[in-house]
Homo-oligomer: 607 residues x 2
């Protein structure tokens, strides 16, 4: 064995990505060690993998010639460890050679590749793509650059070019997975948008969105932060990350369209939102009535409540005399707009799947800044934190089979037909065996967080709706994330049991009042896909970012992108020993990793 350190960069795209790698080089030893497999694939396999996968998914990209590597000896499944992919069920599909190559990659990175999912989308291959595969528009990559970045072995870290600038000089960096899927299934979007007044009145809004996207220029420079509502409309800033699974179609589509759904929802409430002096009217077009209401004279008794407005039991009740009226804040309208935007986005994917090939699903983490507040909408297992004076403020929570267990079990209990007679809504610590019928086994129901023993019966032999722990937890033995967009035709393998009813497209929205605080140059919001957070804690991220920024020139507008690059590097690690390694010899992330670092001080002034 010999050790060698390489400086890796791409001659065709100098400055775009480069990094150092220390590699131990082994001789062939009978059973091919994973690192040698990777070296082989690195030479010619990545392009081959991509070519194969493109053919299936319909992704158009220039093909690179190259013969596949000698297939390495297949390894027993028991050797598979580490993170499994969210769409891992497809790992068995595909050609034999392809599978084996993937298997080797998987052995190396501790992950499972998601495949083309042709079985789930029987007709999808015949349909045109809704959008071609791409990397985030703001990176401004050519097709060749996109292809070069998708090297599962080198895993180059892509950053924003120095000539490009995002709103608020937001920093961005990303890296592809180590073989889990052929393409990087993360997607990102960062724009400044304007919600314009509709031509019609507010109470009879036109359904035609008239938003104007102001940052559709590849280079975001020159954008000025205007008054919240100028003659053009309401300006808002938007950052979003999407983590795709079982295909990149939903993630690409959501990264292109979700912001327009947000615009459309905000348009519905534009007039109300911009009239901060008055609380949003309960009913549009009857502000006159609203004025006559007696505030705080509310339901003090159920009887007055019920008598108030023809409530049940009093169908011919007189007009209301006393009733309460909940006061809704403007902030709640923005939250509602984001919630409904996610819903509309999901509905659009479902609708357009009838005519387009839109593969897979994706998580979505979208952040909007408007009217002085940051709104963080999260559906999935990405995460956003604010780092203020070095302290962490969590701005999202993750939605996983474990965190949503009780909701999912409750649904399975209420609608047992969704389980297709093959799953049980009860949770057991492991699979129940037939010989255990009649014995007492630990279980928990949707009402429980603790565990108790129950006598096993025949129906308990069904597979548990929620099964596995941590990153390996699955819903219906299929999916490891419980909120997001797409996945409409995802089914349990070899069955007609749909996953979608258990998934939710509804985000949780948290609000941060940006104008309430003074922010320094090192106060930032960090958004990352789960690839980042799987290996770094909030505190590790905060420490890394804070110490990195402290060593930067405060006037360097590229510092946030450099900090994002540093973060991705820390999460991916370097290729050493038997895989990607990070601090303290821990395993780096083999997943796609995408990171935005948004400086907060620009909420109130122009960078």
């Amino acid at each position: 064995m010999s050790r060698a350190t390489f400086r890796v960069s791409c001659d065709r795209f100098p400055g775009l990505f480069e990094f150092g790698v220390t590699v131990d080089v082994w001789q062939h030893t009978g059973i091919l060690p994973p690192r040698v497999t990777c070296a082989l694939i690195r030479k010619c396999g990545a392009a081959a993998l991509r070519t194969l996968d493109e053919r299936r998914s319909g992704v158009r990209a220039s093909r690179v010639s190259g013969s596949p590597p000698d297939p390495p000896p297949s390894r027993p499944p028991a050797a598979l460890g580490g993170n499994s992919g969210k769409g891992s069920r497809a790992a068995r599909r595909g050609g034999n050679m392809f599978s084996r190559v993937k298997s080797a990659v998987v052995s190396f990175v501790g992950g499972v590749m998601s495949g083309p999912h042709s079985a789930d989308h029987a007709n999808a291959a015949d349909q045109p793509l809704r959008f071609p595969y791409r990397r985030p528009e703001f990176l401004g990559l050519s097709a060749d650059e996109v292809e070069c970045s998708a090297d599962h072995m080198a895993r180059p870290i892509l950053i924003l070019k120095e000539t490009r600038r995002l709103p608020w000089v937001t920093g961005y960096a990303e890296v592809i997975n180590a073989g889990k899927s052929a393409v990087n299934e993360d997607q990102a979007c960062c724009e400044v948008l304007v919600v314009q007044r509709r031509s019609g009145s507010c109470s009879t809004p036109s359904r035609t969105p008239t938003a104007k996207r102001r940052s559709s220029l590849p280079n975001g420079e020159g954008l000025s932060l205007r008054e919240n509502l100028d003659s053009e409309g309401l300006v808002f800033h938007y950052w979003a990350l999407f983590d795709g699974h079982a295909g990149s179609g939903a993630a690409v589509m959501a990264s292109r369209l979700l912001q327009h759904h947000v615009v459309e929802q905000l348009q519905d409430v534009l007039e109300v939102l911009c009239n901060l002096a008055v609380l949003p009217p309960t009913c549009l077009g009857e502000e006159g009535l609203h004025e006559t209401l007696v505030p705080h004279r509310s339901l003090s008794r159920a009887s007055s409540l019920r008598g108030a407005a023809g409530a049940p039991g009093s169908p011919c009740a007189p007009p209301p005399r006393f009733f309460s009226e909940k006061k809704i804040q403007h902030e709640s309208l923005v939250i509602g707009a984001l919630e409904n935007a996610f819903k509309e986005m999901d509905t659009q994917i479902e609708r357009e799947k009838a005519v387009f090939n839109i593969s897979g699903g994706c998580t979505a983490l979208a952040i909007c800044y408007l009217l002085g507040k940051l709104y963080v909408a999260n559906a999935g297992d990405s995460r956003a934190i604010i780092i203020r004076s070095g302290e962490v403020i969590p701005m999202s929570t993750e939605f996983t089979p474990e965190s949503e267990r009780q909701r999912l079990q409750f649904l399975g209990y209420m609608q047992p037909h969704l389980l297709g007679g093959e799953f049980t809504h009860l949770e057991f610590p492991r699979r129940v065996q037939r010989k255990e019928v009649g014995k007492r086994m630990l279980y928990r129901d949707f009402t429980m967080t603790g565990w108790a023993y129950k006598t096993i019966q025949d129906e308990d032999l069904r597979f548990p709706l929620i099964y596995g722990e941590g990153k390996k937890a699955r819903v219906l033995a299929t999916i490891g994330v419980t909120r997001g967009l797409g996945d409409h035709d995802l089914k349990v393998h070899d069955s007609d049991i749909y996953i979608k009813p258990f998934l939710s497209c509804c985000p949780e929205v948290k609000v941060y009042n940006l104008t309430q605080y003074e922010h320094g140059a090192d106060d930032v919001l960090v958004m990352g896909t789960d690839g980042l957070w799987d290996v770094l804690s909030n505190e590790e991220v905060a420490d890394a970012v804070t110490s990195f920024l402290a060593n930067c020139d405060p006037d360097d507008l590229h510092r946030y992108t450099m900090a994002a690059q540093d973060l991705v590097m820390r999460a991916r690690g370097i290729l050493r020993d038997r895989g990607w390694r990070i601090t303290n010899e821990r395993l780096g992330s083999g997943d796609d990793i995408s990171v935005f670092i948004v400086p907060l001080m620009y909420g109130n002034r122009q960078p």
Copy 2:
């Protein structure tokens, strides 16, 4: 007007309760001021009220003669303010005089009395009581003392007599409401219990509880804190508060029986619990198999997962080769035992309602100390906090129509028949009127925390499932608390719509590792019904308790009861001006108030 200060005490029970009151005495002024009404009722009304209510509820108590007061002029409902009762729908029922008396009381205390609910229990009056009404057993009150304590005007604070002592010298104090219900619907229990081994084996447990209650003696003294599992069994300490509504039956029953359900559930896992050296076996009676499992070789792919044990799609799959097994901690078994104990208690109430009169429902807050940990199980809107070194550690969260809105709406959406065609699962800021059909009104669905506008349609004219804000929020226009025991026959007024499906008897259980910390004499756990927390914040309670205890002799074993009395006094306030007033001229609580103060230093040593 003249002002007078009275020292109030009860001659028949010296030392049991006494307090000072400053009263402004008015002349009759046409519209009778509430304070005069109260003075009248105080003279003879409380007994009259009680007599009337006893006749309906079947509570047996010695009757006190006395004629009802002159009915005060009825006040417009608009003047009703403050807290409304949980079972407020019954306020309209009952005789005219009775209603008017109650109305006056209500005007005074800002609450609504819960009535006898004869309509809900058509046959209940013919059935025997499951348990007679009482105050907590450990108070050791005679029937006369119970009656004297139920003075809605004087509102004497009942405390533990000096000759009595609870485990850990726990402090206790309570006060009756200011007219909301005829009797104090709060109940309490504090005991030391022993879970004994069943005669049979663990895998075939006998269903006969063999627990021995060790503190059934009126005087808890002499109890020794033994080894966790001595020859007798597993000793545990138990404190519980129950806040009844719409009758006292469920609260009284739960205060007598819940602890035995806990014992029975713990019996199921006794052997496992006391074997701390080994994690609880997944399946009882097959520890041998358990040993052969390969740990941490788990589902890395859905395929191996599904193939593992005859999962869907592979009915004839071979025996499992690779599967994960979740490791369950002992702590989770205690949590599960508490969760199932609540469920069994609720089931028993439902079952026995067939033959007994068990009126109303109740919240339940139960705390168990065993094996070095405090387990706080809460179903309802009572609250427990730990005060350690003056800092507050919340040990429960409240379950209300607002905090459980999304769960309730989701259920209404999934099972619309539960809404009887009269309610909508959507929430609106106020009642929708027919003339608003076609207009756009604010709403939110079960998926939303924000609000958006929707075009009102005919079905939106139905009454909202959740309606009202804060203490006035109601489920199905009927009940203001969403978890607890009982309420099986509670229906929406004049309808066949049952409330119970929307209520949950499942507690949330939080754990505090008592042995992990050193506790001083002023470190305590405070349990209180909502009457306490409605008017005092966690911090106010912590400040009050901490400063009170600091001024006590540390060796005075009565100090925790004195602190509890102080707390109840602070929450009830004193009778002044137009009602019960506390600090800063705020309104005191007109609700029943019950408080335990549990010193934590006795977890590891005998008081």
